[in-house]
Amino acid sequence: MTAGTGGGAVTAGTAAEGRFAVRRWSRTASVAAAGSVVAVAALAGVPYYAGTSAEQPLVTLFCLVALASLWNLMAGFAGLTSFGQQAYLGAGAYALYAAASMGLDPFAAIPLAAAAAGVLSLPVSFAVLRLSGGHFAVATWVLAEILRLAVTLAPSAGGNTGVSLPGVSGYDALLRQALTYWWALAVAVCSVAGVYALARSRFGLDARAVHSDPVAAASAGVAVGRTRRWAYCLSAFGTGAVGAVLFANTLYTQPGSVFGVQHSVAMMFMVVIGGIGTIEGPILGALVFFALQQALSGYGPWYLVLLGAAGIAITLFAPRGLWGSLAAPRGWSLFPIGHHISGTS
């Protein structure tokens, strides 16, 4: 049990056994919050003291952290396993292409691209959210395929060959890379912080209720459909931002690649391996995935076989993931969501 001195402790009645307090915040959490601020500040300075060779891998890592957190927002909090988030990755990238083709500054247009992905997800949600479980998963995948084909069939979007990002030739190469880096960092921080804030809010409570038992949640007055829709659309918005940042980073995008299901594979494994339904889990999962990718990508398909096997094993035998298995027995919580009961006397 966590014995903290932070605010938010509520004295909760007197039972025969003694007095109890319901707490959410803890000293660990204060340290973690302060540490996060310092870490983000240090990372923001990387372009000044470390240079482009450090920026490149970190951009990839930040995008993975953001994707994992956003996938977890759906799967971990609202019980929606999507295999089609690549639809919004691609929507963000191609929205950025459209904006930059119209003469907007590509870096200034990243929020627009994210908004486009979010807006697209709203009508889609009405069709796919009728389904759940495996049906929802495959239906979202079909949606990604529809978008891929639509882009492939549009000659103005470069067809199957893909497009280069216009409007970057005016930038100095170093500044362009630094801006991409800062955007990636910003998207990752906003995704994690946003999911955290949501999880602690009324929405988070509703989402977890929906996750554990939709029927019971509905009977307790939770608007199940609206909660799921929020999770789906916010996740799409963030994923669109990641798609735009990735495009600004690679400068080239192609439908077969950006709309590929391998992105969902990555998202799922990061969340499952790290620990579904927590804030720390997806970050840990992203770090593990990134490390494996760097260390094992030379082994080609065997690396993905290993990932598949790890995903299955963890789902079946340690469903709380690495973070859950490490932290839960020890009562660790860097970013607490739920409440703890502790004795005060």
Binding site: A75, G79, T81, F83, F126, A127, V128, R130, L131, S132, G133, G134, H135, A137, V138, A139, W141, V142, L143, E145, I146, L149, A150, L153, V261, V265, M268, F269, V272, I276, G300, P301, W302, L304, V305, L307, G308, A309, G311, I312, T315, L316, P319
Partner: protein, 294 residues
Amino acid sequence: MNWVGAVVQGVLVGGWYALAACGLSLTFGIMRLVNIAHGDLAVCGAYLTLVLSSALGLPVGYTLPLVLPIAFAIGVALHLLLFGRALRGGPLAPVLVTFGLSVMIENLLVAGLSADPRSLDAGRLALAGVRVTAFGSVITLSWLRIAGFLTALAVLGGLHLLLARTSFGRLVRATSDDLDTARLVGVRVRPVFATVAGIAVATAALAGVFLGMTATFDPYAGGLSLIFAFEAVVIGGLGSLWGTLLGGVTIGLVQQLAAQWDVQYTVLAVHLLFFAVLAVRPQGFFPASEPEAA
């Protein structure tokens, strides 16, 4: 092509989709399991046939008596090792486990047999066609497509009889209707579900063999096969075998008719139809009120 030809070709091609989809329909209808690796298991069937027919020097057709039992055994083993546990592991577990299986299968195939596209040599049958005159127009039909359609009909009919007329079918229906009651009256659920999984994988492998004979396949072909199979199941109505056949034929028809208009819209038209069905009639056109009622 003329419209009559398009319709006939569409129905024949639809037979393949139904064959690919019936295993998915079966596992969902009976076990409530959406097997994301279904398409990859079909592709495995094609590779297994390729390896066996080249190792034994046999024509593709003669390897089927070996391929189908192996596929059945793989299905049983998968259920005992993975699916059974996954079904008990909460709502997300089956999706995550079968997706993980799908990733493993694809990459094991790449590692073992390379990513090169392959095809199965169906010998003379592959190149033979028959000319048919219908409604005043001449259509050339491939024997292979006709064989695929007839196989799909036979498999679906056989499954229907198995479920409706045999004692095993009664066990399956009882288990599917009410798992707990079935357990209570002494049905041993594990062997029943394992058999169903075995049948599903065997039908997938058969679909994979026809895929290999009519087109090329590579280790990543399973994803698109799964999507089409899934669309056939949803369009036809969840959990109904005859609905799956009609769903498959609908997909084949839409493809061929869209191709009449412009060949680039064939796949897109199917996906859009699927979304339209989801939006307008999510229970599909022929939902099973009772799965496989006798």
